[in-house]
Amino acid sequence: MIDEILAEFLQSGLGIHFGTRNEQLEPAGCRAAAVKVEGDGRHVVVYLPKAASPQVFGNLRTNGHAAVSMARPTDDRAVQLKGLMLFSWDAKPEEEHLARAQWNGFLGQLDAIGLPGAATSSWKIFPCVAVRIKVTAVFNQTPGPDAGGALS
């Protein structure tokens, strides 16, 4: 589902957004700090801010449907994963360490395009909740005529 090359890109410090929906098919979403691709390429762990909207966590508990959109600010290369949440837990210190490294990479990307990453210092990205997702589909989301095409 996710090969090594794609996994490297996804874990390189991207802008990550996490989408869910309720039973009335009304969407809700939040920012994510980081993503970790598991060795089998079929599961990922997404690190969501504990401060994120309760609707997001409520939706996950109710139906588990998730969309994870990841983009590199410097060139807008983007990928979206679809999947189902299996379970979640409070991120452990070593996981937060990993998540902070990716988040700092993202802030560096913002700096590179002239948006000072330091301006986001008031955001409540940490502590995080780790959400393990079984990936069901991977799509190209880079802007352009073939955005939305399946990558696997």
Partner: protein, 460 residues
């Protein structure tokens, strides 16, 4: 109860991309980046529909959506809960979005691919803060963009500019006083004016300020870049967050090239700043006729404000009338008719040892100086005529009137814009003409000043 959209203007500038959440009928959520969300009114926003992507398909099945915006001033995130209402393919909202996207597409060589198909209008049901994107109440950290400038199009500044350009006594002084006045009274360091060219659907750069090269004589075709688009639309075009928009478009271009959907041609060179963050193009029209385009650039994002639109249009109308009046005045009031004999203006200038070749290519109507392009079309014909008269009759001073009466120049009978063409020729010579100059000698009169030896060659 007010949603407060009116107070979120900075969120709608496209400086930070938005996130658009939708859900399909089968219950699969979708999260997609958006380059721009447009403010429509106190209860509506517009989203650009450029490609038939998953978000668009979801909206067709399920009208509920959420868009997250980030305020570039204080990093506060906002969640707008939306319901799709309609799509517009014409009208002021569509036009505003269309021309902004066209400008970005033009710069990136993506015209026809990166384009607006419709402006999708959504009703905003609620606005809530995004809890994890908490803003900076004390602004201790740097804002995500430079501090917003003070409103610039004040009546005082307009009045001051008006007073300054009223003192101009020639087209050249008028154009120069406009670009100088824009710096002095509005603090716009980078501006340029292109006037209608000889060829249809073409503008020619005639005055600029703040750039290494004046660009005098550069042609801009309708539809190319912000100047060409303003000319085509005859409407002001304002672009903020240009860098973000271009990154978005370049990403689309790369994908299109990989697919073989567009050529690998380089983008049309952006006139002016290499990386402008904001651009404003103002059409200069008189009674619906396009006289030219004023373009102002800034390295500051969100430099030009939507609420300035009325002042901008007023400024454009005023400048257009002033320029046209000066063009007509220059045509009517000229110096003494007939030829003016006298020694060559360059007689006192030390001659160069080097002999240069100036070639006129008759079929192309192009003048080349030592093998390098100098100028084309009517200014080229004028230059060639003047140099021939200088060589044949030993003349160095000329009048506009004799040029106007010279049938070989093929000037139009009405509105020949001769003064504009002479100004263009003079500026081009100042920049690329070496020792060849046109020197004003009072209204309707000028001297041709040539330093050194010049070999005139005519070719097909």
């Amino acid at each position: 109860m007010s949603l407060g959209l009116e107070r979120m203007a900075s969120c709608f500038q496209g400086i930070i991309p938005a996130m658009f959440y939708t859900c399909s009928q089968d219950g699969t959520p979708n999260a997609a980046f958006l380059s721009h969300v447009d403010y429509v009114d106190a209860t509506h926003v517009a989203l650009s529909f450029q490609f038939f992507n998953k978000s668009r398909r979801n909206i067709a099945e399920n009208p509920h959506a959420v868009v997250h915006l980030t305020d570039p001033d204080n990093a506060q995130g906002w969640a707008l809960r939306l319901t799709y209402e309609r799509s517009e393919t014409s009208g002021p909202i569509f036009d505003r979005m269309f021309w902004r996207i066209e400008a970005i597409a033009s710069y990136t060589g993506l015209k026809g691919i990166f384009k607006l198909l419709a402006a999708d209008i959504y009703k905003v049901e609620s606005v809530e803060s995004v809890p994890e994107e908490d803003g900076q109440p004390d602004r201790q950290a740097p804002p995500l963009r430079a501090k917003p400038p003070d409103p610039v199009f004040t009546m005082k500044a307009l009045q001051d500019l008006s007073m300054q350009i009223n003192t101009a006594d020639s087209l050249e002084h008028l154009l120069d006083s406009i670009v100088v006045g824009l710096k002095r009274h509005f603090n716009f360091s980078h501006s340029m004016i292109a006037l209608a060219g000889e060829k249809p659907d073409t503008l020619v750069m005639i005055a600029s300020r703040g750039y290494e090269q004046s660009g005098a004589g550069a042609e801009v075709h309708f539809g190319e870049g912000i100047i060409g688009l303003v000319a085509e639309a005859k409407k002001p075009i304002r672009i903020s967050g240009l860098m973000r928009g271009m990154l978005h478009a370049y990403a689309a271009k790369r994908r299109a090239e990989e697919k073989g959907w567009c050529s690998d041609e380089r983008r049309v060179p952006l006139p002016g700043l290499e990386n402008p963050s904001s651009q404003l193009g103002v059409p200069l029209t008189v009674r619906g006729e396009l006289i030219g385009v004023l373009c102002i650039e800034s390295e500051t994002p969100y430099r030009f404000h939507e609420e300035d639109k009325t002042s901008i249009e007023l400024l454009g109308s005023y400048l257009a009338v002033a320029i046209q009046n000066m063009q007509l005045q220059d045509d009517e009031v000229e110096g003494s008719s007939g030829t003016v004999a006298g020694p060559p203006a360059s007689a006192t200038v030390e001659s160069r040892v080097t002999r240069r070749e100036l070639a006129y290519y008759r079929d192309e109507e192009v003048v080349m100086l030592d093998g390098e392009y100098l100028i084309r079309s009517l200014p080229a014909r004028i230059l060639w005529k003047l140099l021939q008269m200088r060589e044949r009759d030993g003349r160095s001073e000329f009048t506009n009137r004799e040029l106007r009466l010279d049938k070989s120049l093929n000037l139009p009978d009405f509105k020949d814009n001769l003064e504009t063409r002479l100004l263009l020729l003079r500026r081009r010579l100042e920049e690329k003409g070496g020792g060849i100059r046109l020197v004003p000698k009072g209204r309707g009169r000028f001297a041709l000043d040539v330093t050194g030896d010049l070999e005139l060659v005519e070719r097909d």
